[in-house]
């Protein structure tokens, strides 16, 4: 009897998390470096050098991540964007040869997602890129959330991307208090801003 209870309790405790807690994609992945994912720096199939492209060659972020202004996702460049330059530029380099081969075989590159939000978070790049202050100036730069990617080699996660970090920023975007009225949050902080 005792053994039975022991076995059962072990079984239940091991499965308790899974029974109630397992929802696919419910935790922000993941890094070995830190608890909050900052500094997550996975190995990519091709070593894409952000520093060289963005700093040395001065290519703007949105040249490649062209959907950021229009869509929820910033978008990864399709291979034909890469090939636009690399038909001519630096064709002898090893990664570019590899890329050309994939392009010719109509085979997409399977990048490892660095900034991976859980599936129940609905983040839209568009509103953040387009966010303006009262004078019509952009409030956010890409770097505000992604860090100094132009100084990185392959991309790594700079911000923790946890809810507290998001809400902190949303709470700080405020209109100043006026005529006895309290200061206003223009960025919404209700649950259903991101969760639906």
């Amino acid at each position: 009897m005792f053994l039975r209870i022991l076995v059962l309790s072990c079984f239940l405790s091991s499965s308790a998390y899974s029974w109630w807690g397992y929802t696919p994609g419910d935790s922000v992945d993941n890094s070995t470096q830190s608890l909050f994912g900052t500094g997550y720096h996975p190995k990519q199939p091709i070593d894409f050098n952000h520093r060289m492209h963005a700093t040395d060659r001065k290519i703007p972020c949105e040249y490649c991540h062209s959907a950021a202004r229009r869509s929820k996702t910033a978008g990864l460049p399709p291979l034909n964007t890469c090939m636009g330059c690399h038909k001519i530029v630096n064709t002898s380099a090893e990664p570019i040869k590899k890329m050309k081969e994939m392009f010719d075989n109509n085979e997409p590159i399977k990048w490892v997602k660095v900034h991976d939000l859980p599936d129940f978070v609905r983040f839209s790049h568009r509103v953040h890129v387009l966010a303006k202050d009262k004078d019509g100036k952009a409030v956010l730069e890409c770097q505000s959330c992604h860090g100094q990617v132009q100084g990185m080699f392959t991309a790594e996660q700079w911000a923790p991307l946890q809810m507290g970090w998001c809400v902190d920023c949303h709470n700080n975007v405020k209109e100043p208090a006026k005529e006895g009225k309290p200061a206003l949050t223009t960025a919404p902080v209700t649950c259903n801003t991101c969760h639906f």
């Binding site: 029974w19 397992y22 935790s27 869509s71 085979e107 859980p118 969760h195 639906f196």
Partner: protein
């Protein structure tokens, strides 16, 4: 204060107890499911998971859990190799196309994300359906991604089936076709170039174009076009403009859900039913069974089944005898002769039907005075006099002068998708060497007594090309997977001169090919090529004629592209008007209706039609609105009849007809004629083509004997005498609205308002939001307060909203067993209420979704803040916070919260087939998993999208910019959504309307405010014309 309140409550409850009831058992307790019903329950009654299964699942998830404890695996981000120019990842692309679920040919807009269709919407510019789409159309997405679509061609050897490659399958087909003298094609209805193409193929193969056989289970196409051919010389359908009709008389019609063009007719009907714009049509219906269309009638007369044509003739008689009636002298004398010839039938008809002569005279008077229309017959309920009924309707409409006002046959008439008498021709065709069966299932949808199986078995080679496997495949030798509608090219010409284009919205998701392309390939292989590379090339060639007709000032290429982009084009066709021919000779075939203790009506189900929707779980799950039964077939009987014979709800009876017998459970449905019993079609698939429909319900066509309408040649499917015997067994029907006496007499759930009062009371004395309470004021800083208004005067319960909501919001299907446990997952449901006489009640259908209460009872009880209120009035549900206490569901007085007892899979839970296809889900809405509460979100993803769009353009969200999925698809325009803070918005004006009320909001005019939940959903009370009709006709119907 408390005292006053109590007096108020008492006053209200005494003065206005609700006259409504939810089920016949409330009036006749004898017919409620008996106490002994627990014995002899069928399998599937209890939870389909036994203990061992439970433990297995449990331990399985434990393993999965152990893995998940570590870390979620890194996700891959895969970019395009070559990104299509019009695609932005994360932004939906819409393609205009044409629905293929029925031959009505509604325009659709296919929303695709990253190249895959995720949702269908009616094309709002399309003049036919004006943005609306029925449940069947909405469910096409499930048909596209259906896991049981064939993955490869199949080849039959005896009883064994085997997968073969396309080359092997085609080699077999070619060998058969090469030596064939007579090749035939059996296909479904179509109005575009499809049939013309098939004829061309047949001619090229050395066969004749007469070997093309068309078949639609909706027999209305045949009976109406045949009647118009006999009367006017063209086998076409009339175009009906219901929006112009102030008075509509239906004789056994079901035009809103299974007529000639349900969505377009619904749109027209609802436009004519706009109380606010001061025009509200009046609808009088004669019918034997209760239909959804009949449930919207202002005056409904219950007649014995099979007497529809007699009723129509009585109407003709009343019209003819009215001195103000119209028509040429010759026509009138023809009518007189027809009536004279049928005098014997009409003599005692008033007694048989149970409707007095004065009623007909009154209706005739109104038909002549007002812009009116007589709609007769439904494809659903087809008897041997069906074409005569249509002939009588043509007479009535001519006498009332409806032609040219509400019915058009010479100006933009409608095309018939079928050729009449094809089934009889097919029987007599003689020996065919090869038969192609394309997108048609005759073995299931033609009554079994026609023995089509025997005919088919004589054909040496049958090639079946179907987008989804059907029962006819059983007799086929080669089965080829055809493209789904969303993967095909095509066109429809629903109205003469008006063309609707069909384009593929996705590459074939399975290993399938378009039927037309397969035929072209076969032709090329036997060296009888047609000069087209594929069907698109064929269409492009054929569309030159349309280009010539329209003569736009642009080049043909540009024109063709523009049509594909927009989805339709056209020019009104006009032809010379013909005189009505003398049709009295045909009335010689008028047959007296069958007499028996019970007469069977076997209507097409409004969701499953004849069975074409049976494999789509969402259609099975939304259920029938009048009975709320899902996943089953039921026998609907009049409650008094049930009492008389001692039948109770869920009692299993055997029904024996001339063709066979079936066993099914009884559902007492008010509003049926005492001698009429109804078994809907659509279910009863005994061939395991789809696990969804397999052995689900029964097929009433097995009961009927072989008979056909002598004029149109269509098989008769209804009005057969049947015997019914109790078996002593029970079968619990999965009725979703199962609680009896659940209204507690409350008068504030469903409300009706007499027309007179509506005219008096334009707006409320006090606004709906003016409720005295201690809650803090609503957020004043917020620009929006989202609200919805639902017009109960328009809703007919077609279920399109439920299907649209399910597809848009990734709502899973729970299956029959879970529904029996009360665990259906619908975010929007249809509640149906009856009022008045059990034999002929007034029916109200009420869509209920989360009411988004501003003082929400669910929010206060959540221990983890998973459900909260947002400043825009939304009751937000945060899935990832939810721990599944279900307190909120208990607190919700509207019972709209749904708990995920499972991580739901595809199909029903009992089958546990496979995970849901992530490609078939809407990527903008989180897929919920086990242990989470969910409910209507007011389509928050659409609100967010509209706000972001507006922000990108530096403007505010416009009124009408946000359309919820249910509103967008509603064929009756019953739902309006918008910003309540904007006093000019439609929804804000409707909330101030005199008919507006809040569900469970008490009676504000008596200072009684109900639960004071202050929902953002308001309802507009159903309008009744009762007083008016009594005065006008002296009739209490």
């Amino acid at each position: 204060m408390t005292e006053r309140l109590e007096t108020n409550v008492n006053q209200v409850s005494q003065s206005s107890r609700s006259p409504h009831y939810m089920a016949a058992e409330e009036v006749l307790p004898e017919i409620a499911e008996g106490k002994d019903s627990s014995s002899g329950k069928k399998e599937g009654e209890i939870l389909p998971v036994d203990r061992r299964d439970f433990m297995r699942l449990f331990s399985l998830s434990a393993v999965a859990g152990a893995a998940s404890c570590v870390r979620r695996p890194a996700e891959k981000a895969i970019a395009y190799v070559k990104q299509p120019i019009d695609q932005v990842p994360g932004v939906a692309t819409h393609y205009a196309s044409t629905c293929g679920s029925c031959p009505a040919g509604c325009g659709i807009s296919v929303k695709t994300r990253e190249g895959r269709p995720v949702k269908l919407e009616g094309n709002s510019e399309h003049p036919l359906n004006q943005g609306g789409l029925c449940a069947l159309g909405q469910a096409e997405i499930q048909g596209l991604y259906h896991p049981e679509r064939l993955q490869s061609p199949q080849f039959r050897d005896g009883d064994k089936w085997g997968d073969v490659t396309w080359d092997e399958a085609l080699a077999k087909v070619i060998a058969g076709v090469k030596n064939a003298k007579k090749v035939g094609i059996f296909t479904g209805g179509a109005t575009g170039h499809r049939h013309e193409f098939f004829e061309e193929v047949l001619k090229r193969l050395g066969s004749s174009e007469k070997e093309l056989y068309t078949w639609e289970a909706n027999s209305l196409y045949s009976s109406v076009s045949e009647a118009y051919r006999l009367s006017f010389g063209h086998a076409d359908l009339p175009r009906m403009e219901l929006s112009e009709a102030a008075f509509i008389v239906g004789v056994g019609t079901d035009f809103q859900v299974s007529g000639l063009s349900p969505v377009s007719h619904s749109k027209g009907f609802s436009q004519g039913r706009s109380v606010r714009r001061g025009r509200r049509n009046k609808f009088v219906q004669f019918e034997s069974n209760l239909t959804l269309t009949g449930s919207t009638a202002d005056e409904r007369h219950v007649i014995p089944a099979g007497n529809e044509s007699v009723v129509a003739l009585l109407l003709v008689k009343a019209l003819y005898e009215n001195p103000a009636s119209k028509g040429t002298q010759k026509f009138r004398s023809d009518v007189a002769a027809t009536l004279q010839a049928q005098e014997a039938v009409l003599l005692n008809a008033y007694e048989t039907i149970g409707v007095g002569r004065d009623v007909f005279d009154g209706i005739a008077q109104e038909l002549i005075e007002k812009p009116s229309i007589v709609m007769a017959g439904s494809g659903a309920n087809f008897d041997q006099n069906a074409t005569l009924l249509q002939l009588a309707a043509i007479m009535a409409n001519t006498l009332s002068g409806a032609f040219g006002k509400t019915i058009f046959f010479d100006e933009g008439w409608a095309k018939s998708p079928v050729r009449n008498g094809d089934l009889v021709r097919f029987e007599e065709a003689g020996k065919l060497d090869v038969l192609f069966v394309i997108d048609s299932d005759p073995l299931f949808s033609v009554p079994q007594s026609w023995k089509l199986g025997d005919l088919f078995s004589k054909i040496p080679l049958i090639v079946s090309i179907q987008s989804f496997p059907v029962e006819t495949d059983r007799v086929a030798h080669v089965v080829l997977p055809g493209n789904h509608n969303l993967e095909s090219w095509g066109d429809e010409q629903s109205i003469a001169g008006f063309w609707s284009m069909r384009q593929p919205a996705v590459r074939p998701t399975k290993n399938s090919r378009q039927a037309e392309d397969i035929l072209l390939w076969v032709l090329a292989s036997v060296e009888k090529n047609l000069p087209y590379q594929d069907y698109r090339a064929y269409l492009k060639k054929k569309w030159h004629a349309i280009y010539e007709l329209i003569r736009p000032s642009i080049a043909y290429e540009t024109f063709f592209k523009a049509v594909i982009r927009r989805g339709f084009t056209g020019k009104m066709s006009i032809r010379a008007a013909n005189d009505v021919k003398d049709v009295q000779q045909h009335f010689r075939t008028l047959k007296a209706p069958s007499v028996g203790k019970f007469v069977l009506a076997a209507p097409l189900d409004h969701r499953l039609v004849e069975g074409r929707g049976a494999h789509l779980p969402i259609l099975q799950e939304i259920g029938d609105a009048l009975t709320s039964i899902a996943w089953d077939t039921w026998l609907a009987v009049n409650p008094h009849t049930a009492k008389k014979f001692g039948w109770q709800r869920n009692q299993l009876v055997s029904v024996t007809g001339p063709g066979g017998s079936v066993e099914l459970a009884v559902y007492p449905l008010p509003g049926l004629h005492p001698d009429t019993v109804v078994i809907p079609r659509g279910n009863g698939h005994e061939d395991k083509r789809s696990t969804i429909s397999y052995l689900n319900g029964v097929n009433p066509l097995t009961l009927v004997e072989k008979a056909s309408d002598p004029l149109s040649g269509q098989p008769v499917t209804s009005v057969f005498p049947v015997e019914i015997k109790a078996t002593g067994k029970w079968f619990r029907l999965a009725a979703m609205q199962k609680l009896v006496h659940d209204m507690e007499g409350r008068a504030d759930i469903i409300k009706t308002m007499p027309m007179k009062e509506v005219l008096k009371k334009a707006t409320h004395k006090r606004g709906l939001d003016d409720v005295p309470d201690l809650f803090p004021k609503l957020d004043e800083e917020s620009k929006h307060r989202w609200g919805m208004s639902i017009d109960l005067d328009r809703c007919n319960g077609c279920g399109a909203c439920m299907a649209a909501c399910g597809i848009e919001n990734n709502v899973p299907q729970a299956g029959r067993e879970q529904i029996l446990l009360g665990r259906e997952m619908h975010w929007i449901r249809l509640d149906r209420y009856f009022r008045g006489d059990l034999n002929n009640p007034q029916v109200s259908v009420q869509p209920v979704m989360c009411q988004h209460c501003n003082h929400a009872p669910c929010e206060g009880v959540c221990p983890v803040y998973a459900t909260t209120h947002d400043p825009e009035g939304l009751n937000a549900m945060t899935y990832n916070r939810c721990v599944g206490t279900r307190y909120c569901a208990n607190a919700c007085p509207y019972k709209v919260r749904r708990f995920n007892w499972w991580t739901h899979r595809w199909g029903e839970m009992g089958e546990r087939l496979q995970d849901r296809n992530p490609r078939a889900t809407n990527p903008d809405v989180t897929v919920r998993t086990k242990g989470v509460m969910e409910k209507c979100s007011f389509c928050l993803q659409r609100i967010t999208d509209a706000k972001h769009n507006a922000k990108g353009q530096n403007r505010e969200v416009r009124d009408g910019e946000v359309q919820t999925a249910c509103q967008q698809t509603c064929p009756m325009n019953a739902i309006v959504f918008g910003n309540l803070k904007d006093p000019t918005s439609r929804v804000a004006q409707l909330r101030d309307d005199g008919r507006a009320y809040l569900m469970l909001g008490g009676a504000p005019e008596h200072d009684h405010f109900g639960l004071k939940t202050l929902p953002n959903v308001s309802y507009l009370a159903e309008v009744t014309l009762e007083e008016g009709t009594q005065e006008e006709h002296g009739h209490h119907g």
